[in-house]
Symmetry: C2
Subunit: 421 residues, 2 copies
């Protein structure tokens, strides 16, 4: 008998019929003898609809009130799921994030989980209940106000609950079969990865893979919670995200997967005077607006001009703020021009195996060259190599790397119609 | 400067525009220097829609979960109203019933308010906030589960909050101008009652007047909270419900109003053997199914047959349960037949003045007789006389009594299109 946390996202519970289907799955797990906690998102588009409603009432809704409004969505689906499970003759009770003991910081819309005090739901579990917890929400430690946990909130809540309840594992149900070696819509020969380490999953998530949020994976790694990412539409095994098993098959595959990210833009500051401290001033200014800089490249300054170009990438959504901040510095720093390019893409190969296998970088770059893809910027970590390429070359680059590292399967991956991933 | 509680019902906040209109009213009250607490219902048909959703998921939704689901509605409108008020530059914060300290019994769907511990909202008021409280809900004293307070819940919450916060008065905003001397859709010459005593309002509510729930009026009477029932569409004075002012104009009007009720049915048990204890057995059986019996009539038994008929009235919704219970007794009690008539109506005249004015009964019955209305059953209290008549005669009976007791105004009452009352 295991203690299991299962998380279902909005598309899994889009309507009454879906809720009943999820209920059946949960009931099956419970009837197999396991203790079950379900973390659930709002139904379908509910969160967007509530946001629309807020916008109709107020152009700048107060953050505290927006959280009060949005958290109604998860509350509703949790109650409905509990009802559906009750119809199978099992005891099921729903709880808000607050009732489940999810304690957070006070930042409305993007609160961070500080702690989980799961006493009430642990008692319910021990009493034999199936416990349903409204995801995406908690309560502020300081103000006792309801908070929402930001992107990936329900996944992170599920993993955090699993850790605090000493669960054996956490299942994240989604609309694809697991983590793939590349996005199947770009690389039709991509395969499901049966097992991936926390470190590799972190890199994949940081480099654009949308299946699990960075924050959720980091929490799982820190607390050593095994995470099983699988489809809510089938009973097939998905992808297990776990601690790295030394010397295992995990380490033998040199590259686990290829990730891509179209969400970044590149800013180039042209003709920066090559004086001590200029680069520092530029990045200090950027840091005041809390923008996440990703990759930075500074060319060696031209002897003739005594000037250099500095390029960096950042999320597109931060582009305008960064440009405005830099424009304000133009006179004081004395650079010549500011270029903005949002038609770039980032392609990354990830694998713990590259630590022990030299030549990965060369193989990667060779495959890109053969595919006629120009490399604009490069960034690496111990288990990842990323390149910035032209946006139009992203798909070709992903496929080239995928093939070069032997990741292609014989069959085409099945892509579910309408999953939108 | 006063401390005011204002309650707005679902039709007052049916959509984003209505919410903004309500916000303007609340802001005006606050800017006049008063401390304001707003109790708010769910938007428009939200509660019905959530109920539908529950029915789609489960034919018999668990009561605890139904309360978790339904209370989302009030939570949403409270948050939206707080946002709208915030746009006027005022601080406003929304609270659930639980956060506002509304402590109730554990009966889901029909919880009773036990106590209010308004510490958190009192602090908010003293800090200058406009406080918005989600109506219709509280938290169970025993289980700490969220509960809904049953019919009239938001009105009762408003009055209870007013009492616990020492408010100067409670305003109930609705879609009519106040309490009328009769339903204007039946008696076009009905007038708004400027002031009515708690006792008379209790009788009016018990006898079919739908404007304020019995429970709410009883709470107001017990705690001496003045209640102002008024329209959310205009700024006109409505009806004040207060303590009776001895010797005042309140006592001079012999009859304050005429109420009617089409929600009852009549059951006649024909040919009950005239033995000691038979009537007791019948009503004991009825009491086990917790049905509210209203009026009872037992004829003197016929000498020839030694049998009598017993009639009583009850809510139509309890009709089937009562009939089933009585049928099961047929052999043991030995009555001859069971008749069910749901085409009846009850018409009542209410007024504290009748205590000091004899002849009210006679005048009432004479007016009915002139209108060709036959009286089937009679029931009275110190300040009320009720008759059961044929359903088709209700309107005529109401108008006849209204005229006989001098309640007709010269003008026709304004009935707002689409108010549905």
């Amino acid at each position: 008998m295991a203690r299991v946390v299962q998380k279902f996202g909005g598309s899994s519970v889009a309507d009454a019929e879906s809720i009943k289907r999820v209920a059946k799955r949960v009931v099956a797990t419970r009837q197999a003898g396991h203790e079950v906690v379900v973390v659930i998102s709002a139904m379908g588009d509910t969160t967007d609809e509530l946001m629309d409603l807020a916008m109709q009432v107020s152009p700048q809704p107060a953050p505290r009130e927006l959280d009060m409004l949005l958290t109604s969505g998860e509350r509703m689906s949790a109650a409905l799921l509990a009802m559906a499970i009750g119809d199978h003759g099992l005891q099921a009770r729903s709880f808000t994030g607050s009732q489940a003991g999810v304690i957070t910081t006070g930042t409305h819309g993007n609160a961070r989980i500080i702690d989980i005090t799961p006493g009430r739901i642990a008692s319910a579990l021990e009493g034999g209940d199936v416990v349903i917890v409204a995801g995406f929400q908690g309560v502020s430690q300081d103000t006792k106000d309801i908070t929402t946990i930001g992107r990936g909130g329900s996944d992170t809540t599920a993993v955090a609950l699993a850790a605090s309840l000493g669960a054996d594992y956490c299942e994240i149900y989604t609309d694809v079969d697991g983590v793939f070696t590349a996005d199947p819509r770009i690389a039709p020969n991509a395969r499901r990865i049966p097992k991936i380490s926390y470190e590799e999953m972190l890199e994949m998530a940081a480099c654009g893979a949308k299946i699990l949020h960075l924050r959720c994976v980091e929490y799982a790694r820190r607390e050593h919670v095994p995470v099983h990412v699988r489809s809510s539409f089938t009973t097939k095994e998905g992808t297990w995200v776990t601690d790295l098993e030394e010397g295992s098959a995990m380490e033998q595959a040199i590259i686990s997967g290829v990730a891509h990210d179209r969400g970044e833009a590149k800013i180039t500051i042209v003709g920066v005077p090559d004086r001590v401290g200029e680069a520092a001033r530029i990045f200090e200014a950027i840091s005041t607006i809390e923008v996440n800089i990703d990759m930075i490249v500074q060319n060696v300054s031209a002897v003739a001009t005594g000037r250099t170009d500095i390029s960096f990438t950042l999320p597109k959504t931060d582009g305008k703020a960064a440009i405005d901040t830099l424009n304000a510095l133009k006179d004081s720093v004395g650079f010549e021009d500011l270029l903005y390019d949002d038609q770039i893409g980032k392609v990354s190969v990830v694998g713990v195996g590259m630590r022990s296998h030299p030549g990965v970088t060369a193989k990667f770059f060779a495959s890109l060259s053969e595919a006629q893809v120009n490399i604009e910027m490069i960034s690496t970590s111990e288990i990842r190599i990323s390149v910035v390429v032209d946006g139009e070359d992203v798909d070709r680059a992903v496929r080239a790397a995928h093939t070069a590292f032997g990741l292609d399967s014989e069959d085409e991956a099945v892509v579910y119609a309408g999953t939108g991933r």
